[in-house]
Structure formats: C-alpha cells, structure tokens
Symmetry: C2
Subunit: 408 residues, 2 copies
C-alpha cells in the first residue's frame, strides 16, 4: 500500500498548548482511502526544523500532508520551508492574492485587507494552489523528490474541507490506491481484559489487523482492517463472542439516540456534577433533539427542590450526594419532562470539596423508567473534566441498561 505521513506544524503543538486533533482526522481519511499512514509528527514553527522534517518525511513516502503554519502572521513559516524543501523560489501568486481580497470583500465588507495577509499569497513557483472556501489561506501542493506534499491551514474546519478536496485529486497523484475494508463493533459493560479473554488470539492478528480502543466516554471499540472477506468473517466472530455487551452504534450516546428514536421514546437529564456533559454526549448525535426532551443543570439545592420536586427533607437527611437524592432527581425529571427515561447525576467533580466519607470523584447516577428506578455509586479518578465526562458516560450506561431492561 502507498505510504503517507502527516506533519502538524506549530510552536503551540510542541509546547503542548494545543492538542493536535488535525492529525487524527487526516490519518483516518487517508487510511480510509488506502494509504498506510506510518507516522504522524509534530514540529515547531522554526523554518529549518520544518524543512528537515519535510525532507525526512518525504523519503520513502508517496504523500506528506502538512497542517498549520499558513497564517498571516510572521511566526508562520510553512510556505517558506516548503519553498526550501522544493528548491523553488517563493513569490507572490496573483491568483492567491485575488482569493484573499475576495474573501475579505465577502466576509468583512468595507474593511481593507490587512497588509499582513499578503504573506498568505506567497507560493513556491513550482507549487500549485489549493482552493480554500472557508478562510483566507490557500493551500499548497508541490513535489519534493518523487513525493507529493500538500499543505493546508491548521484551523480544523478549513483543514477538513481542504483535505476532502485533496482526496478527490489523490487517484491522479498516487496511482494504484485501493481502499481497505474497515469493520468496527462497539460494546460497553465489559472491561478490556475480560473482553480479550473471550476472544483469545484474535488481537494478535495482522490479517485482518484487529485492534481494541477504550474510549473515555464509556465504550470499547474493536476494529478489523483487511480485505472485505477477512473483515466480514472476523467481525462476525467478535460479534458472537461479545453479544450480551454489544452496542448498535459507536458509543452510548449514539446507541441511546438510535434506539429511543426508533421507538419514539424520549429521555430527560437532571445533571449536577456532570455539568451538561450527559446532554452534550447525547446531543453530539444528529437527530438527538427529537429524543432529548429537556436537560437541566441543577447544581444548587433550591433548583433541585423547585424544578425537580426533590423533597427538601430528603436533602437535609441524606445530603445532596446520596442515593435517595439521585433517585428523586431522576424520577422528578422524568415526570416534569414527560419523558420515557429520566437520568440524573449528583457528585463531587472537584478539585476541592471532598471529605473522607465523600472523596472527590464520588458520583451517584440514576435512571428512572415508568416501572423502575436504579441507582449506582461510582468513584472516578482524575481531573475535574474527566470526572464530569466519565460520570456522564456512567449515567448514560445506567440509562442504556434501563432501556434494555424496559424493552425486554
């Protein structure tokens, strides 16, 4: 299979001030069309370092895709580095300047084009221009030795659109591309080690390549990559070994939205320590607005009492972080919203406020249906955001279990 490599460029990346999500997007799209991405690399904005990284990535590869370093500011040096790697002089490209001026005319009517944006019209003479309909910086396409190099801006939604257009050109640039088959299945409620014990030997397979990934939002993914026949057989085998834990979609949020929508059922969330993450995990799914009746973040005791009908006495007797209160929240939310399932969370996301009895990371989750309410206590380690996110996933797992029990 042809080889691709990915370079993400920017001082903020190697200083760790920004998480590079671009490379994952690019890797997925390139491997989906049949390129083997053998590595992705992050480099700073130093021009010489970029030139070196480019030359090294181009050796033995068919395509190097770079994101970042195409902004209007002086610290962005990707164009200059590409010109040096291509040994082609950098000049202002009139078509690029027309694009930039046109973009300003459309999105900032009346404002003059800042002079600094002229930098974005600089191109190595031998490079082609890649159109950008979402921002000022055109992309660049050139050759270093026998390897194609495409450079796109680091702004994620500009990058995504441009990568799409590069993929359309790819069959002409890299002959002999053939997309592999990728099969995935998802499960929840079973750990990584326990899963492997049910599928002995399969994870060391390379034909098809089988891999396992634990997500931070409560599910595990198994993936097989190979020929259609290999993938089909292997996925069927994995599916039958893990059937009690399988999810129909890639995650708890998507699975709940899918099944509730199909049954015209609804859900409502009363969130305390999860701070909206439960609703956000559901609402990341297209069409979720049909399924989520309502979601309330009820941090304060008065809000729990006034909006969810949690009895004041219950809070005084058991404390806010308690089984009694989380059950009352789930039931109250379900009733108030007229939903099929009510789900609730209450706990301590930290970093402060923990005690010996209720350490930071203690969370109660509950799910209520017409016939039954269940609650569970979990203890989550890690940062405030991790507690919020994982506790939301636990709440969705509780709702998923309630839904499956209800459906039987």
């Amino acid at each position: 299979m042809p080889i691709a490599r990915i370079l993400a460029i920017g001082d903020e990346l190697i200083l760790g001030r920004t998480v590079d999500s671009n490379s994952a997007h690019i890797a997925q799209r390139l491997s989906d069309v049949g390129l083997t991405v053998d590595y992705a690399r992050t480099v700073g904005d130093g021009e010489t370092a970029i030139v070196r990284a480019l030359r090294s990535a181009c050796r033995g590869a068919d395509l190097v895709l770079c994101s970042g370093g195409l902004g209007p500011t002086e610290d962005d040096r990707t164009r200059h580095a590409l010109a040096r790697a291509m040994r082609s002089p950098l000049r202002e490209r009139p078509a690029a300047w027309r694009h930039i001026a046109g973009w300003y005319a459309q999105y900032r009517p009346g404002a003059p084009v800042p002079e600094v944006n002229r930098r974005q019209a600089l191109f190595p003479e031998a490079a082609a221009m890649l159109a950008n309909d979402r921002g000022t910086a055109p992309g660049l396409l050139g050759k270093v030795g026998s390897c194609w190099v495409a450079c796109v801006p680091g702004v994620p939604h500009e990058m995504e659109a441009m990568v799409g257009r590069i993929l359309q050109r790819l069959p002409r640039l890299v002959p002999g591309l053939r997309a592999p088959t990728v099969g995935e299945l998802w499960f929840a409620g079973l750990g990584e080690s326990a899963a492997q014990e049910r599928i002995p030997g399969l994870l060391s397979e390379r034909n098809p390549l089988v891999g396992i990934t634990v997500s931070e939002v409560g599910h595990i993914t198994l993936r097989a990559v190979g020929t259609p026949a290999q993938v089909k057989r292997r996925i069927a085998q994995l599916r039958s070994a893990l059937s009690p834990w399988l999810l129909p979609k890639a995650g708890l949020g998507p699975s709940l939205v899918h099944e509730l929508a199909a049954a015209k059922a609804t859900i409502a969330c009363a969130e305390s320590c999860t701070a909206g993450h439960t609703a956000a995990q559901l609402l990341a799914v297209p069409g979720a607005s049909e399924v989520l009746r309502e979601s309330l973040i009820a941090y304060h005791a008065e809000v729990k009492i006034a909006r969810l009908g949690v009895p004041d006495a219950l809070i005084r007797q058991h404390g806010v972080v308690s089984e009694a209160v989380v059950r009352a929240m789930a039931e109250g939310m379900r009733r108030a919203a007229g939903a099929t399932i009510g789900v609730a969370t209450t706990g301590l996301a930290g970093p402060d406020g923990g005690t010996a009895e209720l350490p930071v990371g203690t969370v109660w989750v509950a799910a209520a249906t017409a016939t039954q309410t269940t609650a569970r206590k979990v203890r989550i380690r890690g940062s405030r955001t991790r507690v919020q996110q994982r506790a939301a996933a636990e709440a969705l797992f509780e709702a998923w279990t309630a839904w499956k029990r209800n459906a039987r």
Copy 2:
C-alpha cells in the same frame, strides 16, 4: 537546552480513530521544566516500527517519553520494542506482577486476575519499573545509548499521574535543566490579523519566542517564552497594545467565572442548539458551580414556553430561530433563575434542517442583565459539534460584553 521527544504509540492513532491528546499534555509539562521538545511522533503498534521510531528518536535526545502500547492485550508491543531497542531480554518482573495482583485485589475484590495481565509484568532486564497508582500497567524506564526512555500507559489519567512522577526524577536523569519563563495573555473580540497589525514585528521574535494561537472557544492566546526579564517586558508591551480586548483569565468561561465570583454575581443559561456546551464551557472551571445558577437545555418549543415563559405567539410569529425568541429566552431564564445575567442560544446546528433563509450554522445568541438585553446573529461553518461549540463561545462573549458594560 536538553532535548526531549515524544512518541505516542497505537494503531488507533495512525488510523485516526483516536485523537492523541497525551502528546500535548506531555509536551507542555516537559517544556515547562526546561526541555526543548523538538518533535512528537505517532506510530502504530507494529513492533519493528516502534523499535525504529525509538532508535531514531533517541539519537541526539536526552529523553524520549512514550505513551501507549502497555495494555494487557496481545496487540500492545511497547515493552517488546523497548527490550529490542535496549538489547535487553524481556522477563516477567515479580514486583510488577505483585503490583498487578494488588491492583485487582483492591479494585476488583474477589475476581481472579486475568492471565492476560501477566503481559503487563514483562520488563527488559535493564529497565526500572515506574509505579502506577491508577491502573494495572506499571511504566518502564530504561536507556537506549545515552538517552533515557520512559514508557507510560496511554490511558490519559494514568499517563498524567506517571508523567508527574517522571518529572520529579528528571533533575537526576538530565543534569543542567533550567525551567524557562512562560508568559501568556488572552484576548477576545479582535481577529488574528487585526491583532498582529497592533503589534508589528513582535511575532517574528525568537528571544523571547512570541507565538499566537486561536482557540475554538472564542479567545486568542499570545505567549512569550524566554528569560524572566525578556518575558516580563514583552508581555507588558503586548498588554498595552491590546488592552481593550484583554481577558483576565485563559478564556471566556474562566474570565466570566472569575469576575462573576469576585462580584458575587450569577449567570443562568437557556440553551437550544448549543446543547449544553455553554454551561459546559463555564463549568469546566473549578468553582463555577457558585456562579452558574441554573442551565436549561430547551430544545422544544413547549419547554421554551413552559419553563422560560417565552410567549407562544412570539414563536409562531417569528419562528424559534429568531431575535425575538432568543431575547425572550435570555430574559425568561434570568428571571426564572434569579441570576445577574441570563444568556440564551437558538439556532441550527445541523447537519440537516437548514433552509435558504436559515442555513445550517445560523445561531442567535443573547445576554440579558437587569438593565439591558443584547442579541446578535452569527453564522458558523463546520460540523454539528463545531457549530455547538463555537455558538456557545459566541454566547459567552455576549455575556462577557454585557458584564463589562454593566460593570462600567
């Protein structure tokens, strides 16, 4: 300055199924203590590829930090690769096996330790063990040539704790470490190009190194890295050039929480298309629970009417995505929650449901105080999640502007 390199290991990373957030965390922590991270690289789980990446990263570096590939499953090969790169045979380490058995005894009492976990006790003979108090996989510390190599699990909260412990050892491993000074400032409401025109020449500085980063949640960061004197002078200069747009904290959410808490003021959110992202951006900040009175996701017209008191007639006359409705939502939320500021959003996050008049990505945001309500229409391009996230940032910017106006 001593050189460090980062390797993130996993097929899911080079297939683009998982975003590598570990490398950013590691890069930030290493550069904060005075190592220059000249690159970060992602490789798959193939053992030979890891050996090659390790050897190449170790040449000319003082420390290589690897994350991932230490799970109990057969596809994880980091230990094996390290043994080959170190030319040291792999054997079961009794202390590591005791740690794994102890972890199971504590967190899965009664359950037998899965046999597959024995793989996590394998160590190159010449490597030291790094304790892991958050999971089963101990880390490894060894030497390839004159370069230290530390391997930690890929699970983020295990990785974070172990990197902390490696940093404590670092002064003994890498002599002559000296932490640089990093200064940052944040602003909102002014674009990247416009900002650069106010600080001509500064972004090409290397002493101190000055960089600019645009975040997806509505603010821009300027960063200077150098000696204390250089950084202090440069930050003061940047600060005075951008004073009308400065934020007191690293983002709109943190700035709002900080200022509202100091003034004992509160905020409440009524979210439609932003699906909880507005509250989540606020509640990611420790202490935000004191400031956020209440947050309601009001997707459905009935919820807007019943909970926020938006007049039915207003919705019928103007439609849900309209200035009149967003204003009524913000005012209704502020009143219902008894908050200082009410903020609201209504719009189309997509991917479907757009029309010629109201294309996907159209969002109204509003902020209401006791004396004034303002609303603004924005148009956001990109995926559903991006529209939700950016629209939430626009709502917070509206709230920030309202707060600053109110404070004058």
